[in-house]
Subunit: 386 residues, 2 copies
Amino acid sequence: MNPPVQSLNESKFRILSSCPISDGARASSLCLPSGEVPTPVFMPVGTQATVKGVLPRDIREVVQAPIILGNTYHLNLRPGVDVIRKAGGLSDFMKWGGPVLTDSGGFQVFSLSKLRKITDEGVRFRSHLDGREIFLGPKEAVEIQDGLRSDIAMCLDVCPAANDSREDVESAVNRTTLWAHACKEAWMNGSGPAEGRNLFGIVQGGRFKDLRRQSAEQLVELNFPGYAVGGVSVGESEEEMLEQVGWITEILPKDKPRYVMGVGTPTQLLKMVGLGADMFDCVMPSRAARHGMAYTANGTLNLRNEKFKEDFSSLDENTDSFASQEFSKSYLRHLIQTKESLAGTILTIHNLRFFVSLMEQARLHILKGDFETWSSSWIRNYESGA
Amino acid sequence: MNPPVQSLNESKFRILSSCPISDGARASSLCLPSGEVPTPVFMPVGTQATVKGVLPRDIREVVQAPIILGNTYHLNLRPGVDVIRKAGGLSDFMKWGGPVLTDSGGFQVFSLSKLRKITDEGVRFRSHLDGREIFLGPKEAVEIQDGLRSDIAMCLDVCPAANDSREDVESAVNRTTLWAHACKEAWMNGSGPAEGRNLFGIVQGGRFKDLRRQSAEQLVELNFPGYAVGGVSVGESEEEMLEQVGWITEILPKDKPRYVMGVGTPTQLLKMVGLGADMFDCVMPSRAARHGMAYTANGTLNLRNEKFKEDFSSLDENTDSFASQEFSKSYLRHLIQTKESLAGTILTIHNLRFFVSLMEQARLHILKGDFETWSSSWIRNYESGA
């Protein structure tokens, strides 16, 4: 069933420092074909080949994101992988020009599509757009991502809900392992390995420590150049989530990048960095921006609030972007009131810079050796100001 | 009824060249408190203190617009003139930093509001947003624009429809003249004159040459530092519109800027430049952008079209902006298909740069002395490619 496969690329992941106190947080550098990614890193989400409302050059030059994420499920529906392949891959198609990580599409199949049927071969579902029937198996998921020319592609996995039964979670782990083998085999037949692109495995297992361990160990046997923690932030408490991340980072090899998928708040990110996680993505900063929310070191601001009507102070003078420093709270409230899309654009640039910059600061403090102290103090400040 | 008023600022308008053949087109330079405006010039419309979807710095650096327009009617409703006055004026409030021209609000009162009642004192109407009753007279229109700190404010005028009776148009002209006197008086009492800001008069008179002449002559007596042609593009044919502009530019003083309000297509702009018009504004390039249309020297492109699905050529390599040159037609079609707001942003930047740049080219050819030849050839090319 699982034929022996050639080995994947060696991970070009260089650990620069680990925190002397917790032996958790680490600063590193991940070399990808489209560029180098210093970690810990927050990856803005560019679902449909665009970080909503923001020009790619502002993601590069203002947000200063070293890598962004694309969603295979959405891109496969529109414009379709053929168009993006012909354009030279996702990064070229959207003129981002830097590294991209793509998810496998599995998460969206489970959360967006209708009438899905899962077997060991893959999942058959109907597009949420037009009801068209589509099949996505491990081979298809990997081939699509090869067509997108992702610097980091993700294995297709099965992501159970937080309260699924042990039986269901165990079945998800087994199928995720089965698919990881198939993904690796398909990946080795594509152009990814020759071009230095990477395929990461995804650890499942939900709230069951032994299943998390089983999943991680089975994937580590396949020697992926990086591993993700999947199935978190799916309904469990923050405490449970951090516990699960902690279990997994203890098991995963220290010399490979660890990516926690789809999280989280600024304080959660810092706590997970402390647990040895390296990479994160989340729609929260951009989605919150489109709803008029801004992140600051003292908590979030709701810019719809009447109290900002004549507040001509900068959005957030402590975040180093023109979007944060140039525009007043009063002006942003006006744009929100009048439903002008520029509000979302300015706040998205600010929020993403806030998240990217938070990881830059974390990295500096890891290298300096005072991450734990700085992080605790940062979290205290954020929570007291909220 | 019309008390004698002090004189307005001298217009800081320097004619650099007039076309030797037609004695129509002229290149000039308009010095305003917030900056110098080379003319002929196209002014992007920033209705609600934002050029929809575009960051002010992209309007400055990419579109390279020397001046933008704000809408008094909208800004008076939201956020209200008090907020903008306290922010230091419209240019500061929106962090544009360059010159702004504001309309008087009259046009929107007539086109958007309900239950309006016009008398010699002004117009009473209900806000299109919440039905609130508002009064706008010449004094109010000018005081609001003084609060917006507009580099160029416009007199309140009465704008009849293209097919209104001669009697109605004559009444509109008379009231426009009456209001011009009141506007000038109110303006002289504000901070505009001391700060070198300008108040322009608006010529009405519709399709009646004698009424256009009467209106122009009555305004010229008031010695405004600039004049606008109002009541065009309100339902008449292009031929009629150009005829009316031609009548008026012949009457207006040669040493003052001439602004044709709310127009037009690229070819109309060139034809009006040929008739001696200097300034234009129009929502068309930005509105068309939000509907997936791009202007090029060979006509317009509808980027929704299936034929662009795999067209990886640049949007328009002949327009000098990154928005025009960096993104492919295929990518833009994808953004439009997926209803991503970035489509509107990229196309707005491109279209506005196209219009602003067209006026820059016109200016160069006027200075070079071959405007008529160049303009005819440009129009032929544009129309044949459409």
